[in-house]
Subunit: 237 residues, 2 copies
DNA sequence: CGCAAAACTTGATCTAGATCAAGGCACCGA
DNA sequence: TCGGTGCCTTGATCTAGATCAAGTTTTGCG
């Protein structure tokens, strides 16, 4: 299948796929009550290349989106080539286009990605609105932490917080080593953390020197001791 | 009435007061459908001094809060006397304690304030849940803009954005001069904008020199031409 | 009114992180 | 396999805003 051009295609197996994803560990987000009502829903899968946008016309008010693999982000572009990534959408995460803020924000793929799109015809259904409220509430928690990070944390604290966010999303298995594939460039990370790519590179280098993370190519690393990383003091790097 | 010590007192007229506030211009936030069901609700008014907290035990999951006058903020305290104001709650604004993020955030009064508290026993009621969803969504919009401001804007841009936020909340009347009472210290403003008090003071001084705002004491100023302030380029200050 | 504490302003200096610059590495297509 | 185009790293320098340091104004209270 061609990865370089975006396509919006109905996929017969998508429904099963989504149901499967609902049950797998990484996606506890999607309530089973929702899954149970799939028969009534319009499900599509969209394959995206890096840079492809989720257009506002396509992502209807009444659509739930799930990242099957890859990485999306909701971003804001400012004057003078300044950019801020407001929310990262990692594999297994479900989000709703109405929580993607407003027309001045864009949701795009940072890496080749597959997104499952459920058009919800029946927004008035109590199960669905409850779920949307849960999603909005989770997003509020994310954004409030993000606000603190961007307003008051040092570069080292931001990068360590980001690394821990990645590790937590991987779902460490009982203190074992965790593999993380960060499918974004240093500049993407910088735009997420309110820094510059050079600063991200320098801080990552210093964290690497502590041995808390072990790089295996620039976009993949492992964390031998996730608890140690979590407890690590940013002042020491 | 004593302003220096907080008290939580049932006020017979609070219900009427809130209804009145619902209808007045500055508080279009609170839907009239909610107001119509006041008979079933438990309404109290709380007078707060600067620094008083809205305790998590008091602000039940099922409570709506409205600032009658004064100024509240939801804040996060970090190590080393660092603080971030995440959300400002201005007069007329309604918010819900479940949108005040989590236990690690505190909502407190930045100035002597009156807060009207509605305990909602019937969270399952569709009108109420719809309204809570609207509040959560409005908060998401606020926080996403805040993220961009903190991540990528210069000090001048942050302060101008803040001034415009204040003016907008006052609700300018057809391009006329707007009076703004900022019931917060320079340090509060700094903690809201991710800056230091000295920087806020310097930038406000420079904005004052342009004539776009006219100070009448450190906590009160007027904006002769709100449109000019809105259109003003931060590079010029 | 008068004093003390808090808040504000303004200047001088410092620094974390940005910017500028130059190689090095890795992935991709021919 | 080879070349090229993005990335990534690392060093040198610069700067916006922080920090340090006085004064000054405002506020609140006896």
């Amino acid at each position: 299948m061609d990865l370089t051009s975006p396509s919006l295609e109905p996929v017969s197996a998508a429904q099963d796929e989504l149901q499967r994803l609902c049950l797998c560990a990484g996606s506890g987000d999607l309530s089973c009550a929702i899954c149970d009502s799939f028969d009534h829903l319009d499900v599509k899968i969209r394959r995206m290349a890096r840079g492809d946008l989720i257009a506002h016309e396509q992502a209807y008010r009444s659509a739930l989106l799930m990242v099957r693999y890859g990485l999306l982000a909701t971003t804001k572009q400012l004057s003078g080539r300044r950019r801020q990534l407001v929310s990262l959408r990692q594999p297994g995460e479900v989000f709703c286009s109405i929580n993607a803020f407003d027309q001045s924000f864009r949701t795009l793929a940072l890496a080749p990605s597959d997104v499952i799109i459920l058009k919800l015809e029946t927004l008035s259904d109590a199960t669905v609105t409850d779920y949307l409220f849960q999603l909005a509430h989770a997003e509020l928690l994310n954004l409030s932490s993000r606000t603190v990070l961007l307003g008051r944390m040092t570069a080292a604290e931001r990068v360590l917080s980001f690394l821990n966010e990645l590790v937590e999303h991987q779902g460490e298995t009982s203190g074992d080593s965790v593999q993380v594939d960060l499918a974004m460039t240093r500049e993407d990370i910088a735009d997420y953390l309110g820094l510059k790519a050079e600063t991200v590179s320098r801080v990552l280098g210093r964290v690497r020197n502590t041995g808390l993370i072990v790089f295996d190519g620039p976009t993949h690393f492992s964390v031998p001791d996730p608890a140690a990383l979590r407890g690590f003091d940013a002042m020491a790097v």
